[in-house]
Every structure is written in C-alpha cells, then in structure tokens.
C-alpha cells in the first residue's frame, strides 16, 4: 500500500513536470496563415493562467481585453488558432514585447490554398477549445514547404541545462551531507555514547538520502535504556 502511494505520487510529480515543460518550451508548427485579427476577449478565472498577466504591454485589463489572434491551417487541413500577446518579463521567460510587429509579419505571410506560403510558427502553450485557451505565437518564419524538419535547438539546450542543474544540486546536497551533517552526527554519537544511534546511522547510510536524514535526526534522540 505504501509503495503504491509512493509510486503514484512519483508518477504525478513526473507528469506535472513533463506537462509544465511541454507547456512552456517552444514548439514549431509548419502551417499556412489564413487570417489575422483582433478580438475583444473576456478572460475568466478558469483560463487566466493561460493568458498574459495584466501588467504586460498587451494586457491592460485583467478581464476583458483586445487580443490579437492568428488563424492557421496545417498541411493535412486541420486548423489551429494562436493568440499573439506580450509575455512580460517574468514567466514564461520569452521576454516578448513585439506582438504588434509579429501580427504585421503574420499578416504579410497570409496565403491561400491555391498559392500556399508555408510558415514555421514558433509558439508555446496548448490549444484547449473547452477552456478557450490558445498557444502564444512567438515568431513566424517562411519555410520552403510543409515537410520541413526543424531541429529544436532551444529545447535541447534548455533540457541539458536543467539536467546539469539537477545533477549539480544533487552533488552539492551530497557534499553538504558528507562534510557538514555526517561529521556533526558522528560527533554527537560519540559524546552521547549512543551505540544505537551509531547503528541507526549505519543502517541509514544504506537507505540513501532520506535514510541518512532520518539517521541524523535519530542521533538527537535519547538512547533507550
């Protein structure tokens, strides 16, 4: 039972992190832009998290505001709608403030089915029709055709940097345990003559990080008589 709960929790954390990264990291769609327009949009409490925060350039009001949209069509005929809003300076960290220019570029790349211009739209976010959530377009670039492959350099670099950061965090934590916590625990164990605490620490060492913290806490307990 305990193992099941632990596994479930781990999977939920993993899904949350993966979803967070999938929402935030840039993606490329090869589409044909069919329309660009502004629409007065009411942002509700259920989808406000997927719109620009009120203090960015394009979002003067937190409830109803004029938002730029870009309609587009994939090569297979299915459609996608992007919003085009400034991101502001905190999150997500795109630091985009050229929404007006992007809208002009997108308008310039509009094309018909008879004479298609294929465009790579860099965007982040998801399209949820049920919640009226749109991915935010970050940049548009004309490409040769609908089958162009785009290598996601930004994602590769960001994911490697994140992995490196986690690795260093783990190294730093282990160094801290080895150089600060374990000597302190050993000292306490010696002065208190806690034979059991020492045994607990030895057992904890085998159990990994949390076991070690537990063992260290154990050294503060009074030995049983």
């Amino acid at each position: 039972m305990w193992k099941f709960l632990k596994r479930t929790f781990q999977i939920m954390v993993l899904l949350f992190v993966a979803g967070f990264l999938h929402y935030t990291l840039p993606q490329h769609d090869i589409v044909r832009i069919t329309n660009t327009y502004n629409r007065l949009t009411t942002v509700g409490t259920e989808n406000a998290w997927a719109y620009a925060s009120p203090d960015t350039g394009t979002a003067e009001s937190s409830t109803t505001r004029d938002i730029r949209f870009i309609d587009a069509t994939y090569a297979d005929g299915s459609v996608i709608v992007y919003r085009n809003e400034d991101t502001g300076w905190v999150w997500p960290p795109y630091f985009k403030y050229d929404s007006s220019n992007l809208q002009a570029e997108a308008g310039n790349l509009k094309s018909t089915e008879a004479a298609p211009k294929w465009v790579s739209v860099t965007h982040y976010g998801w399209r949820f029709p049920f919640l009226s959530i749109y991915p935010n377009a970050v940049s548009v670039k004309e490409v040769a055709g609908p089958d162009v492959q785009i290598i996601p350099y930004v994602n590769i670099v960001v994911l490697i940097a994140l992995a490196f950061g986690l690795f260093m965090l783990r190294r730093m934590w282990l160094q801290f345990l080895e150089r600060v916590i374990e000597p302190a625990a050993a000292e306490v164990g010696e002065t208190w003559d806690g034979v059991e605490a020492q045994a607990g620490a030895a057992a904890g060492r085998a159990k990994g990080v949390f076991g070690r913290i537990g063992a260290w806490l154990g050294t503060w307990r009074k030995p049983k008589r």
Binding site: D55, V90, D98, F176
Partner: protein
C-alpha cells in the same frame, strides 16, 4: 518598465543565492581534495598549514573566478532571448 526593473532586482537576488551556494560547494570540494592529498602521504609540513596554503591559492585561481559565470550566463541568456524574440 517597472516589470523589467523587478526582473533585474529579483534575478540579481536569485543569482546571488546561487553564487553563494556554488562558492561554498566549490570551496568544500577543494578543501576535501587537499585533505585527501595530504592524508595520502608524501607531503611535507603541517596539515593545517598545507590546507590553508592550498585554499589561498584556490581563492586567487581561475576556478574561483569562474563562479562569476553564475551572474554572467543568465544575463547573457536573457539578452540573447530578448534579441532573438523581438529583433529577428
């Protein structure tokens, strides 16, 4: 405009926290290395003196200075992102 100042202030605070943590870690690793080297034998003199000299050399060395990258890299990344997103 306020938002960019806020980013700068909080970003600077966050980078300072990272800088302090990395400095402590890096110094700790170097001290451990010096201790192990001395304990392995073959080094003349007093242990504390040897470690103190080694740590002084470390503090004036390239490795310690490279920790400034903690400030430089995020700033450059933000500047490059702003350029690529808005001026390309």
């Amino acid at each position: 405009m306020i938002a960019i100042i806020r980013l700068a202030v909080f970003g600077f605070m966050a980078m300072t926290v990272v800088y302090v943590l990395v400095s402590i870690y890096s110094g700790s690793v170097r001290r451990e290395k010096l201790e192990k080297k001395f304990d392995a034998g073959g080094v003349e003199g007093d242990r504390d003196e040897y470690i103190k000299a080694g740590m002084d050399a470390y503090r004036h060395g390239l490795r310690h200075r490279l920790i400034w990258l903690v400030y430089i890299i995020p700033t450059v990344v933000v500047a490059v992102t702003v350029y690529l997103v808005n001026y390309q």
